[in-house]
């Protein structure tokens, strides 16, 4: 029997009182793709950092190809044939592909000959594994999928036989993910061992041979992928049964609440971030905005919530505050827009939604602090605390301590506090960005249920998310953004991931070639389709 490529025995690692890894055992067989799943904070990244020499385990043994190794820094891990592709790329953006690959492996002190040698070696590797990249391209100018390829090349150039990939698909389109999996297949067939860290169960099922599940710093189970199911994995990750699918009735869209016409925005550097955006939003529906992160979704949310003003365009609102029309010259700020009946759950809760150093109670009224229900002239702490307690009860924020500093709540509970603050006001329009980013599975379920409930009560919900699964399961209607423009609009019930993926990479006005749903790139037919759908 061959020795495992990697064997970990009783690995322990503590950060102060936090037990990040507790008695971890792991065996990874050579030439396989081995998945490691677990929620945020389950200890996956710590474990991989120990294997790659970023941290040293307090106790425990690491065996690579049957040999006991003491890995104290990345250099030693590299020498042992371990390579790592980090979630946040470790690339020097102004450098070329070649320079990035060479860095740390230059050989001679003077680069003249080293460059030539590296170029040749790089081309050999690229053709062997089918990883073609122009060695003289500037890395910062490459699309994300290719940057990741450079990271893989870097590892292989260093002679990696064991490749660790940390959440590799979080920044990729479905198409790029498909290409990545092809690369992983090719690596596996050439005898490379791949460790895939992810929280996406679908990917585990698609590519791995084996999977190990972590929860709260411990390894709870090992499975052969062929003999498990997403439901079982989710249950093992969370420790209880989880509903993976969102239960919802078909939408009953009512009257129009918001209409956006010809919205255009260029940032301070003159880059056009939003290009002629048009859509409408009705009460009782969830409109999903899909797209790879950084294609204008953030700017759109900021615009609609009043944090930014457009250069051109009109927003027509019909809410409890009556009919109003905002145009580029007469845009409103965030407080005024809130008064029109719009609530906003921002994409980045720690930057835009909460002040970490404030107590939960202070954050629970942030943005609404001048409302009379929290005190007439001065804030009345008792009223604030009472209101916070109501929110915490309704949204199951734990621990239920209004006085506790917000930084001390977990990500999921922070998010629930923000949702409670914005959603309990029963807004006419709810703008919500990345509602479950960095939130554990249990809380995701809860948040999704509440969004559906808000919709059923008649709210018009705009959901921006980079998680396609989330968009597909929650939305009634989906618009797709790419490069600041809307590239398509589809009904959620009539589309699939492949079609959305194509729209996410196509340009505005161009009709994608695959998919047979009502894709419609052009704008005029779209609104007709909506009419039909509503009727």
């Amino acid at each position: 029997m061959t020795a495992p490529a990697i064997e970990l025995k009783a690995i322990n690692k503590r950060f102060g009182p936090v037990w990040a890894n507790r008695d971890i055992d792991l065996k990874v067989m050579p030439g396989t793709v081995h998945g490691i799943v677990g929620e945020n904070g389950a200890g996956k990244s710590t474990l991989m950092s120990i294997l790659y020499g970023f941290y040293t385990a307090d106790t425990g043994e690491i065996l690579v190809n049957g040999q006991n190794l003491d890995i104290r820094n990345s250099q030693q891990a590299i020498q042992a044939g371990i390579g790592m592709v980090h979630q946040h790329f470790m690339l020097v953006e102004p450098f070329t592909v070649l320079e990035n690959v060479m860095l740390g492996m230059e050989g001679q002190a003077v680069l003249a000959n080293a460059r030539g040698k590296a170029r040749k070696a790089l081309q050999d590797i690229a053709s062997r594994y089918g990883l073609e990249v122009d060695p003289d391209a500037i890395v910062g100018e490459l699309p994300v999928g290719l940057q990741q390829r450079v990271e893989i090349l870097k590892a292989l150039y260093r002679g990696a036989k064991i490749l660790i990939l940390d959440e590799p698909t979080s920044v990729l389109t479905p198409q790029e993910t498909g290409q990545l999996f092809e690369i992983l297949e090719s690596l596996r067939s050439q005898g490379v061992t791949v460790l895939l860290i992810t929280h996406k169960l679908k990917e585990i099922m698609a590519i791995t041979n084996h999977v190990s599940i972590m929860r709260a710093g411990t390894m709870v189970a090992h499975r052969e992928t062929a003999h498990t199911s997403p439901e079982e994995l989710a249950e093992l990750m969370v420790g209880r049964k989880v509903l993976l699918r969102v239960d919802k009735q078909p939408a009953q869209p009512g009257e129009q609440r918001m209409e956006i016409k010809n919205l255009d925005y260029s940032d301070d550097r003159g880059v056009r971030r939003l290009k002629d955006i048009n859509f409408n939003l009705r009460s009782g529906e969830i409109l999903g905005v899909a797209g790879v992160s950084g294609n204008g979704q953030s700017e759109l949310l900021k615009m609609l919530s009043g944090a930014l003003a457009p250069n051109q365009g009109v927003m027509v609102l019909d809410t409890r505050a009556g009919h109003s029309e905002l145009s580029a010259g007469s845009w409103r700020d965030a407080a005024e827009i809130r008064d029109l009946g719009i609530a906003h759950v921002p994409e980045n809760r720690l930057r835009q939604a909460l002040v970490k150093a404030f107590s939960a109670a202070e954050n629970a009224i942030l943005g609404y602090h001048d409302k009379p229900e929290y005190g007439e002239t001065f804030l009345e702490p008792e009223k604030v605390v009472n209101a916070t307690e109501v929110m915490m009860e309704a949204y199951d924020v734990r621990p239920r301590l209004p006085g506790l500093k917000t930084a001390n709540f977990s990500g999921g509970n922070q998010q629930k506090l923000v949702l409670a603050r914005e959603m309990l006001k029963e807004p006419d329009i709810l703008l919500i960005g990345q509602p479950t980013r960095g939130v554990d599975i249990g809380a995701i379920e809860f948040i999704h249920r509440n969004m559906i409930a808000a919709r059923d009560k008649g709210a018009a919900v705009l959901l921006v998310s980079v998680e396609l699964d989330e968009i597909l399961s929650l939305s009634d209607r989906i618009i797709v953004m790419n490069d600041g423009a809307i590239t398509g609009e589809v009904m959620a019930s009539e589309t699939n991931e492949a079609e959305l993926g194509l729209l996410m990479t196509s340009t505005a006005g161009e009709v994608p070639t695959a998919g047979n749903g009502p894709t419609g790139g052009a704008k005029a037919p779209q609104s007709e389709q909506q009419e039909e759908a509503v009727a």
Binding site: S45, T46, S49, F54, N73, S74, Q75, I78, M84, H86, H88, M90, L91, V92, E93, P94, F95, E99, N100, M102, L103, G104, M105, E106, G107, Q108, A109, V110, L111, A112, A114, K154
Partner: protein, 323 residues
């Protein structure tokens, strides 16, 4: 020929005035390209000017003066390095501390050792002297235009002036043609990438600090025992900051910074030339106007004429390993 004479002597003076800026700007490039903001160029120049003046006076050798200047400057650079690399302190504050320390120490020690109001005793023979290049006099007298240019602009400087030009070429070569340079530039841009490639970020930055110290030492030495013959209190007079402006103006590139230093040197020599000269319409301009010009030009040009200067991405950010 009168006009050429004037122009050439102006250019010659420009080069002499640009020399300390060139050394200091290269020092700044090494520091900032590695990710360490260095407003302490000024302080390091000042302390090394003092050290080299003392050492040259005591030992009678300008070379030992240079050595002393470099050593002290490297010590100060490492102090800044310890604060900003090992202790991950605020680099601006640490640089400011270097400047204050140098400014105070030079005066206190100067008083204590020589009692001449902060001046060091002048050195006459123990300084770097002008070198007349071969054939300069003959060419100057016999060949029109090119001859006097050679005699007054190219020839007749001390060794450190020539060394400053060599340092620019060397800085370019090291930064863009060697392994050390590749790693140094990567460290200022993306220290995470450097660390994950198995290279110590701290060690790269410390070495950059040493280079910075050596170059500042040359700049300070030039001021006290090449351009002048003694140390005077605050004799750097803001040259460290002007060098920093040249670094930014030159977009953190040796070639660009060289151009900026020469331009600033030229403006300074104009300043001395135009003092107490009656200009048409405006009359006599106060010298402060000229002193301010390098800063004004930097701001104005950066604001629109030469495009945005993009600093190394992680300059000024202490490196902490991610969890």
């Amino acid at each position: 020929m009168e006009m050429f004479d004037q122009i050439f002597s102006l250019l010659g003076a420009s080069i002499r005035l640009a020399t300390p800026l060139m050394f200091a700007a290269m020092a700044g490039i090494f520091s900032e390209r590695s990710g360490i903001v260095d407003i302490g160029l000024e302080g390091k120049m000042l302390i090394s000017a003092f050290a080299s003046a003392c050492a040259a006076y005591e030992t009678g050798s300008p070379w030992l003066g240079l050595l002393a200047g470099i050593l002290v400057s490297v010590m100060f650079a490492l102090m800044h390095g310890y604060a900003s690399i090992t202790q991950r302190g605020d680099q601006t504050i640490s640089g400011l501390a270097v400047n204050f320390l140098a400014s105070g120490l030079t005066v206190v020690l100067g008083h204590a050792w020589y009692g001449q109001g902060g001046l060091t005793p002048s050195v006459h023979d123990e300084r770097f002297k002008s070198i007349i290049l071969p054939g300069a006099e003959w060419l100057g007298e016999n060949v029109p235009v090119v001859g006097p240019f050679y005699e007054q602009v190219i020839s007749g400087h001390n060794i450190l002036v020539y060394l400053a030009f060599v340092s620019v070429a060397a800085a370019y070569w090291v930064l863009f043609r060697t392994r050390f340079g590749l790693r140094l530039r990567a460290t200022g841009e993306e220290p995470n990438a450097v660390d994950s490639a198995g290279i110590s970020v701290a060690w790269v930055r410390y070495r950059a600090m040493i280079v910075t110290g050596v170059l500042c030492g040359c700049a300070g030495t030039y001021l006290s025992i090449a351009q002048n013959a003694a140390f005077q209190r605050e004799m750097t007079a803001g040259r460290g900051y002007i060098a920093l402006a040249a670094v930014i103006f030159g977009k953190w590139h040796p070639k660009g910074a060289l151009g900026a230093c020469l331009l600033f040197g030229f403006l300074q020599s104009l300043e001395t030339r135009l003092q107490s000269v009656q200009l048409p319409l405006v009359g006599e301009l106060p010298s402060q106007v000229f002193s301010a010009i390098p800063y004004i030009i930097t701001v104005v040009l950066l604001a629109g004429f030469i495009g945005k200067a993009i600093a190394p991405k992680n300059v000024g950010v202490p490196y902490v390993k991610e969890r």
